[in-house]
Amino acid sequence: MSIREATVPARPEMIPQPSFVARLLNSRHFLGFVFMLPMAALLLIFLTYPLGLGVWLGLTNQTIGRAGKFIGLLNYEMLGDDSVFWLSVFNTVLYTTVASVFKFGLGLWLALILNQRVPFQAIIRAIILLPWIVPTVLSAIAFWWIYDSQFSIISWSLVKLGLIDTYIDFLGEPNLARASVIIANIWRGIPFVAISLLAGLQTISPSLYEAAVLDGASPWQQFRYVTMPQLTPIIAVVMTFSVIFTFTDFQLIYVLTRGGPLNSTHLMATLAFQRAIPGGNLGEGAAIASAMIPILAAAIMISFFGLQKRKWQSE
């Protein structure tokens, strides 16, 4: 059908005269330039430039309403002595590590379950993606309500089951608050990991498993020596994405705790926001945000070389 449409422009009157303009319009390099323009303009102005501007702002003392002066690394020196900043770095690393490990483990488990013959597989798969589709802020508000200190449904259930006597103040005590926000993050991240890995599992040729079974491989050996090596490239990409977006998470913390209690859940992104926007200290906020860049770059490099290794193996 589409092929028939494809022959539409083939009428003789449409043959261009070999004028200069026509030749220019059929030059790949010129057209490539024209076609790239809208994208290049948007990305250079609103992505590349602000990326550099952010690093520059981090070297100034700009505030909201007052142009800044270049102050060198003063912001970074101040942050070096700032215990709240180091706490936020610790929190970010903890949050990212724990949440990523659980997202990966539980996501892989769910993917392996879904890869078996399960009734209503399509519907279940559709339902599982819901937490990832729905606006994070709105589902985080639901978690806020579930974690409420007075009316938490979790506390209510545990009290009724006789497991605890008093309601748990989920977001009021530092370590409990950390655990609570991490759980909410895992909840939101599992669907992405599970469905991506499921797509990877479904591309593994059944003949590999047949061969393994004929050689007498146990289910664990099949998993270890067939599933995992085949899945590695997708795991590398999925976990890179997961780590990057967990590391720079903002929404969940902003809704649930705003960094409290006692800054125990402040991540670098929420601290940057707090110092820059309500605090008005754009330079300092930009310095905190820029401090995330080297770590992100490292994560990308690790994933990149992980993929390279895989390519080399398959050749």
Binding site: L51, V137, I190, A269
Partner: protein, 289 residues
């Protein structure tokens, strides 16, 4: 032979074993993943009397459902304004991104101009730049351009995370279209623009739908830019408005908050229910490349 039979049996698995290894974990996953939504719905329709009295009622159910919270949300708050703003911003930024992505992806994938490989790699890197390191410099730019507290601030900045994603996805779709089709058209005298509009685009419709609904969803869900670039109550988007405007001091109106969360989630949930396969393919397609 005996070994093979044992493994074969394993593959089919006995019913009790399947229950333990498949059905029970799956049920637990489903309950945990869905509970917050159930809780959203229950709270939305529950009268305050039941919400704040956990001793005499069963909190998991509603004795006397009410529409009070939804009524309050729709008629006593700016929720309708937020809805309209979010819709306009999402649709506009989606179309802007799709236009830029289609031409860009075609150029990178099909025109193979000088440096197109490098630009393809750069697009992938742009995909990995998170909004939380861009919002401070963008805030100063938005302010300097005089766009602060306008829809344009969002329409122009959302493409920064929509374009890399949809370009990457569309490049994958364009790759699958045979070069012969384009060559035939070129020989028949079609220009490159005609080829793009009349041959490549019709064949890439599934990719366009995937990229479009996904971009719409990402815009609908965006938070940090909308929180930073918008200040007046009536200009806010749904995620920002529900969070910042429905809490009066220390008083949380949980009923209306949950009603806002529910109604704000519905548009993407409905869109999702119609295009599940497109969502899955756009999510996994972008990763498999």
């Amino acid at each position: 032979m005996a070994k093979k039979e044992k493994v074969g049996m394993d593959y089919l698995m006995t019913v009790p074993r399947r229950v333990v290894t498949v059905y029970i974990p799956l049920a637990v996953f489903l309950i945990v993943l869905l509970f917050p939504f159930y809780w959203m719905v229950i709270t939305t329709f529950k009268p305050n009397k039941e919400l704040y009295d956990l001793e005499h009622t069963n909190p998991f159910w509603i004795a006397a459902p009410t529409l009070d919270h939804i009524e309050k949300l729709l008629f006593n708050t700016h929720f309708p304004d937020w809805f309209v703003t979010t819709m306009i911003v999402s649709v506009a930024s989606t179309f802007l991104s799709l236009f830029a992505s289609v031409t860009g992806a075609y150029a990178i994938q099909r025109l193979r101009f000088r440096g197109s490989d490098m630009i393809g790699a750069a697009i992938f890197l742009a995909y990995l730049v998170p909004p939380s390191i861009l919002f401070i410099p963008l805030a100063t730019m938005v302010f300097d351009f005089g766009l602060f507290d306008t829809k344009w601030a969002l329409i122009l900045t959302y493409p920064t995370f929509l374009i890399p994603f949809s370009t990457w996805l569309l490049m994958g779709y364009f790759k699958t279209i045979p070069f012969e089709l384009e060559e035939c058209a070129l020989i028949d005298g079609a220009s490159r623009l005609q080829i793009l509009i009349k041959i490549v685009l019709p064949l890439a419709v599934p990719g366009l739908i995937s990229a479009g609904i996904f971009a719409f969803t990402l815009s609908w869900n965006e938070f940090i830019y909308a929180l930073t670039f918008i200040s007046s109550t009536s200009n806010k988007t749904i995620p920002v408005g529900v969070l910042t405007e429905l809490v009066e001091g220390d008083v949380y109106h949980w009923g209306s908050l949950m009603a806002g969360a529910l109604l704000g989630s519905l548009p993407v949930a409905i869109l999702y229910s119609f295009f599940v396969e497109h969502y899955v393919s756009s999510m996994t397609g972008a990763i498999k490349e």
